[in-house]
């Protein structure tokens, strides 16, 4: 019974991935006539090659490969900075409560509900005034800002679950803000860092809107090419290439999930959810 239910549930989750993989391995003629769930009669890797290195975006026919390293260049600093800031926030909110902290935190949570599209104009103006519009640092800053609400919430919950005596003992020993953060808090909070990394990698890697609005073509992330491949409506839609492109783009976060799924749950279990 238990396994039966789980099995049926799993079909629901697996089906889309199955269809994506199968379709990406078929040729166009087979897709037109065949059943989308059937495995390919003739396996072809053509769509994958095309999606990676041949599909055109306007004049540039080098597929997704063009955006891959850009995505990495955006991803690494954004993930590091946003997590660093959010973890310090959480730590300060829990252990160094200052007047008005709750107000700021509430505003942050409110911020997590704001649709990104609404904030485009204010952010454009802000970055323009700071003189970093259109640069990589501008985009990293935007990711840090919009990653802050949920991450701060996670870190805050995590730190508040750690025994307070540890912190107090360190204070008595005369350790300051940063000393406690680096020597005591950091080593104890690896699980929650794993969770944060996973969340941020997924969010930032999949981001299209910020990547395209706040940068220039030479640092456009991979999702821009994905959009260009998938959204070109004229002519015949090459479903197999679309699916291959989709899978290729999703590969980085997917790999991280498959590798670290266990750590993810353990991280959350380690206290991320204890309020």
């Amino acid at each position: 019974m238990l396994y039966g239910t789980l099995f049926i549930v799993c079909i629901y989750y697996i089906l889309p991935l199955w269809v994506m993989v199968m379709t990406s391995l078929k040729g166009m003629p087979e897709i037109r006539v065949g059943n989308i769930f059937a495995p390919p009669v003739e396996i072809t890797f053509e769509p994958w090659v095309k999606a990676w290195s041949e599909a055109c975006t306007g004049l540039n026919c080098d597929g997704l490969s063009r955006g891959f390293w850009n995505s990495v260049r955006i991803l690494v600093p954004s993930v590091i900075l946003s997590i660093a800031v959010a973890s310090v926030n959480g730590y300060a909110l829990v252990n160094w409560r200052f007047k008005g902290a709750d107000v700021f935190f509430t505003i942050l949570i409110f911020g997590s509900f704001i649709p990104y599209q609404v904030m485009l104009y204010p952010i454009v103006i802000l970055l323009r005034e700071m003189g970093i519009y259109g640069t990589l640092s501008g985009l990293v800053l935007v990711h840090t800002i919009f990653g802050m609400p949920i991450l701060t919430l996670l870190f805050r919950n995590y730190f508040s679950s750690l025994p307070e005596e540890l912190f107090k003992a360190a204070r008595v020993d005369g350790a300051g803000f940063w000393a406690i953060y680096f020597r005591i808090m950091l080593p104890m909070s690896m699980p929650i860092f794993v969770v944060a990394v996973i969340l941020q990698v997924t969010g930032i890697w999949n981001d299209f809107l910020f990547g395209v609005v706040f940068t220039k073509p030479d640092i456009y992330p991979m999702t821009v090419q994905l959009n260009n491949i998938v959204n070109s409506v004229q002519g015949v839609k090459e479903y197999n290439v679309n699916m291959a492109a989709t899978l290729l783009t999703g590969l980085v976060p997917l790999t991280i999930y498959f590798i670290s799924g266990k750590l993810f749950v353990r991280g959350i279990a380690a206290g991320a959810v204890k309020g």
Binding site: L2, Y3, L6, C10, Y13, P16, V19, N35, V85, N89, Y91, L93, W96, F98, D102, F104, T106, I107, L108, I109, F110, G111, F113, I114, P115, Q117, V118, L120, Y121, P122, I123, L126, I145, M148, P149, I150, L153, N157, F177, W178, N206, T223, L226, Y239, N242, T246, T249, L254, I256, Y257, G261, K262, F264, R266, I268, A269, A272, V273, K274, G275
Partner: protein, 297 residues
């Protein structure tokens, strides 16, 4: 040093305050500032560029007279309530299933969690495919012999929202399940033992003992899921583009379309202000409970 701190409380824990500067700036300048800016400009007739030409409540009058906006609000309410209830209850039930000390737990969990790694755009595209009546799941059911089977979750305006729901649940329940599972694992074994001794049935234990104990978990989940629902945009654009007709419109789409396609910033800002206000209405009681309760305790 202690004397100095007492004399001027502003400089107490100076480092901690400095470290919180990024958060304070983000909260004040970006989120609060951006919101105020948006609300202010919603009272103007700004078109392509923001301009301070006041028109009073005109934009709001027009907004609440627009049938598309009303449909969008109604859709978000229906989708939001269903999605919130289903995501959390399904997530919880899956977590309970996985918590029964089963084999292959890792495999099951990974399978349920992986959709979360994919973007909403991808989710929308894949489900658009799967739900297609000509070659998707419905056609397969027909081919299996159930000739009269008709379920068009993409093109039937009455049920198109449920098509979105199917895709949304696929993407989001795994993550909620993980949070819930983590919460369940955090429950002390002794509580289970005590309940067993008292002879309380398992399902009752879950419902009346465990769920109340997991209140913080539910609150965290609620914030995360609800914030996703309010922002719902990409999934709709990718799966149905708001169609057929206006049947699957959502507020974020209205905002975006009027800001950029219609080049009527004032109208877009008025719509987003309404969204933000409704968020505030939900959030203020939450903040009161969260912080007010703790201070007393």
């Amino acid at each position: 040093m202690a004397d100095g701190a007492r004399r001027n409380p502003l400089f107490r824990n100076l480092t901690a305050k400095l470290a919180a500067v990024p958060m304070v700036l983000t909260a004040l300048v970006v989120f609060a500032g951006g919101t105020v800016w948006t609300v202010v400009y919603s009272f103007t007739s700004s078109k392509l560029l923001p301009k301070l030409k006041w028109v009073g409540l005109d934009q709001y009058e027009r907004l609440w007279g627009a049938s598309r906006w009303l449909v969008a609000i109604e859709n978000l309410l229906i989708y939001g309530v269903l999605s919130l209830v289903l995501t959390i209850s399904i997530g919880f039930m899956l977590a309970v299933l996985l918590d029964q000390k089963i084999r292959f737990e890792d495999t099951f969990r990974t399978i349920m969690l992986y959709p979360f790694a994919l973007s909403f755009i991808v989710t929308g595209l894949v489900w658009q495919w799967l739900l297609n009546p000509e070659f998707g799941v419905p056609s397969v059911i027909k081919a299996m012999g159930w000739e009269s089977f008709e379920l068009d979750l993409l093109h039937d305006p009455k049920i198109v929202l449920y098509g979105l729901l199917v895709a949304g649940l696929w993407q989001g329940t795994g993550f909620v399940m993980c949070i819930m599972l983590a919460g369940l694992r955090g429950i002390d074994e002794d509580i289970w033992k005590a309940c067993r001794v008292d002879g309380i049935p398992r399902w009752k234990t879950y419902l009346f003992v465990i769920v109340p104990m997991m209140r913080p978990v539910f609150i965290t989940t609620l914030v995360i899921v609800a914030s996703g629902i309010v922002k719902l945009y990409d999934l709709v654009v990718a799966q149905t583009s708001g169609g057929p007709g206006n049947a699957s419109q959502v507020p974020a789409m209205y905002v975006y379309d009027y800001m950029f396609q219609a080049q009527n910033l004032g109208q877009g800002f008025a719509a987003s202000s309404m969204m933000l206000v409704s968020v505030l209405i939900v959030l203020i009681p939450w903040a009161y409970l969260e912080f007010g309760g703790r201070k007393r305790g």
